[in-house]
Amino acid sequence: MRTRLTLGQKRSLEGFGFVLPWLIGFLVFMAYPLFYSLRMSLSEVQVTATSVNLTYVGLDNYRYAFLQDNVFPVDLSNFLIESLITVPLIVVFSLLVGLMINEEVPGRAFFRAIFFLPVIFSTSEVVMTLFTQGAGGASFVERFEVFQMLVRALPQRLADPINAVMGRFTLVLWNSGVQILVILAALKTIGRNVYEAAAIDGAGRWEVFWKIILPALRPFIVLNAVYTIVDLSLSPFNPILSSVSNHMFNVRTGMGYASAIGWIYFTIVLIALAVVYSLGMRRVNTM
């Protein structure tokens, strides 16, 4: 027996059908692992050849991470400070390069191709190889005595991450390819007539940049910041990747602790995204 569906219900079902494979994948490969790793992070995990045993231990793993482990907090703090430098660096760099390429200079397509090039291998082990051979540093910045003195004046906790970023300066900039394209595409959405109207009103290029271009780009700059933060997760320089994989098979700490590290990292990412979003979407009094 078939019950007759209204046209609307039928359409709904069809639409749901298209999304269903994704939903199955989501439940199996995302929702379940996410939930299970949260449970593991609150447990002591014992893995045998055939089974996995969880013993609830409350927040012990989290406590261990911050109070007893003497590697993880240092790794984390270095990574956070490095990210506070690299994320704005990438966002600003992609904005500037996007603006430059958007001008009618000869060889625009060529420059666009150049600046996008690293995207095709910036996530990989290749970057690590270049880095260990010292090919990606900012030797041009390090040559300035002033900069060296400034860094030396800082406490060790801050100086280390700054030097780390300087040691791979170019490789950091390599993460801006997609973001540059986003800026370029966003600039195209500002109509020619807007510029013309501004010119008629007697606005100079400087004013046009601050009053028209920047406000129009705002959501895309936020988008770029979000993308950059998410992209950092799989960066070869992300210490959390190796802490998770090292602790996973460590007999003493094990998968429970590794999951806790994963969740601490996830929480930090969410906080960072929330901060970026609220900063970026805050209303500004323009006029």
């Binding site: 359409r11 709904s12 079902l13 069809e14 639409g15 749901f16 059908g17 298209f18 999304v19 494979p21 994704w22 994948g25 989501f26 199996v28 490969f29 995302m30 692992p33 790793s37 593991m40 893995v47 390069v97 390429i101 001008e103 200079v105 000869p106 060889g107 600046f115 996008f116 090039l117 995207v119 291998f121 990989s124 082990e125 290749v126 190889t129 270049l130 051979q133 090919a135 990606g136 170019t170 394209l181 986003v182 595409a185 195209k188 020619r192 510029y195 013309e196 501004a198 895309f220 988008l223 070869p236 992300n238 959390i240 998770v244 994989s245 996973m248 998968m255 590794a258 999951s259 994963g262």
Partner: protein
Amino acid sequence: MSIQRDVLKRPSRGSEWFRPIKTRIRRLLLGTGMKSGLLSKAALMLLLIDVGYVYLYPILYMISTMFMSRADLIDPTIIWIPKALYWENLQMAFEGLNYWAGFQQSILISSAAAIGQAFSCALAGYGFARYDFPGKNLLFLLVMLTFVVPPQTIVIPLFLLFRQFGWLDTYLPLIVPEILGLGLKGALFIAIYRQFFLGLPSSLEEAARLDGAGPLTVFTRIMLPLAKPAILVVTLFSFVWHWNDFFLPTMFVRDKGKWTLVRHLSGLQQALDTIYDLDRYGLSSVTEPVKMAGAFLVIVPILLLYFFAQRWFTEGIERTGLVE
């Protein structure tokens, strides 16, 4: 657009002709209003070349260094161009990477994952763009959630899950999630497709529907052919990102015979030490040029791909209208 510009220019051109030479030169160099002059264009060019040089420096360095012999490397008079092209580095790296084997594995995984994502993300993107059903917005929010979840947070349960399925040391963990529209940056691809399908007129489906075509027919016969630009962009990006992926393949595929090229690169030093028995001779194991040659060999296939499909990579984001 160009017609419009001509129309705007034409009336002023006549009057400009009679302007004193001095003003005309000044305008040419400094520009007028929104149009930049030659001077600022030249300055911009210089700046772009400069920044571009810094940006490309590691690659240029890699290519230059991989042709250097040990003598060239020490010689302070040699900076960029080695005395002679020294091919032995490439040869050594080729052996150390186990190149053909790794190349085949990389191609296999990347193509399967890319094709899987190109199709499955299109399905989901289409559903989100062209249909209304209860809970749609919540589901799309979940899509966005998968984008921000760091792989390191879920890798352990996935590892255990794949162990239970008996999928470890096979490629299934790297391909099956992709076939369902998840996996590496799957959410981004769904968003690209969704945006693309949102931009198509709704009359397309209605006409086909009146002719009695079912939803799947409409999708495969009408929508997919129209979505070629989006398909191409997603396939290319997915291929390249899977080619470079290191963390997940390292986790799930430990069998050396199934390593991808990128994985072989991180084991290059060890592999060469074993092949050449370098420790015995007290040699400083693998030299820098060999490592550079190895890195080059790993990226050369995608460099070639980029060389031919460059426009699709760089214009894709504009064409698919992701930014709107």
